[in-house]
Symmetry: C2
Subunit: 207 residues, 2 copies
Amino acid sequence: MKNFTKDSLIKKGKTFNRNFVNCLSGYKSLNLIGSINTENGETNLAPFSQVFHIGANPPTVGVLFRPHSVERHTLENILQNGCFTLNHVTEDFYKKAHQCSARWAKSEFEATGLEEEYLNDFKAPFVKLSPLKIACVLKDEITLEVNDTVLIIASIEEVWVDANTVEEDGFIALDKVGSLTVSGLDSYHSTNKLERLPYAKPFKKAE
Amino acid sequence: MKNFTKDSLIKKGKTFNRNFVNCLSGYKSLNLIGSINTENGETNLAPFSQVFHIGANPPTVGVLFRPHSVERHTLENILQNGCFTLNHVTEDFYKKAHQCSARWAKSEFEATGLEEEYLNDFKAPFVKLSPLKIACVLKDEITLEVNDTVLIIASIEEVWVDANTVEEDGFIALDKVGSLTVSGLDSYHSTNKLERLPYAKPFKKAE
């Protein structure tokens, strides 16, 4: 095994360091975040791999925003009107999802052809094609001093998903939903379920 | 598509709500966190799906700890001596990794038979079997008011990984490393790489 230190990574240059470090935490979630500027009505759609679970009761998610990036349109919209949508991405439209990260002069919905959808009077737009859609409302905003990234904390208000993918105990079979996962900045992966494991107890010997 | 609201989820009971909401953010990373209490020398190993990328320069990761859970041993060790390790998990030992979440009276290394390894005088133990090992040092601790989860922010000091899995631009092929991904609380998945997509530009039409 090769040993990489913080200093040796910096010597390899910015691009190498960025690609390498972005892979270290492991696989990441993939969501398209839909938002709207309610002053001018302009919608925004951006791919994020920095959405993570914060708590189940109340249902809470976090989104981490890089400082000074194009994705700040999304952040500005969320701070302006307090709501956004999460939309899982499948193999059918991950290329269009990726294309939403370009610096378009118009709405990424229009630019990529991903159709907007509005559900139950929620202000922010959903992605019609997405098989798992979540309506989120802003609860808190924290700037992480370590590097000025902004952590948005939001409540989950409503979810739309095919009932056939939801198991009796509430588990959602994301492989059946078709959700993809991401590694690094630009690598897309489908998954194979190995198994669900039962709650671990000390007296049960590891096999 | 079925519509689930926050209220309808609560009516379905705690277990349903917990399983359902834990799946919503999408696929999660899987790491075993190795730590040590340097006062009594006892080591600890626990599986985490709440490790995420915070920044590449300086290399920074975040770990979210649930309030009042068994995993607090890990948190106590990190706060006691400021260091821990991240260890990716493969198909070869995910059952043992899962078993580390049980309430053992002794070190999870000993209980599950996963061998400890110490590298370059780093205080915290690594998992010998793991193909991607990371030495982390505590930088900051933030309690999220929304639900008292604790966000640990740490710098990445050193990494060990097979050089053959690292591409020229720094990207680490996690599918070759063999890293798994997790959904919900207990579902383990391997991955199939679809492709890496080039940096998106507006003039390049989405296919």
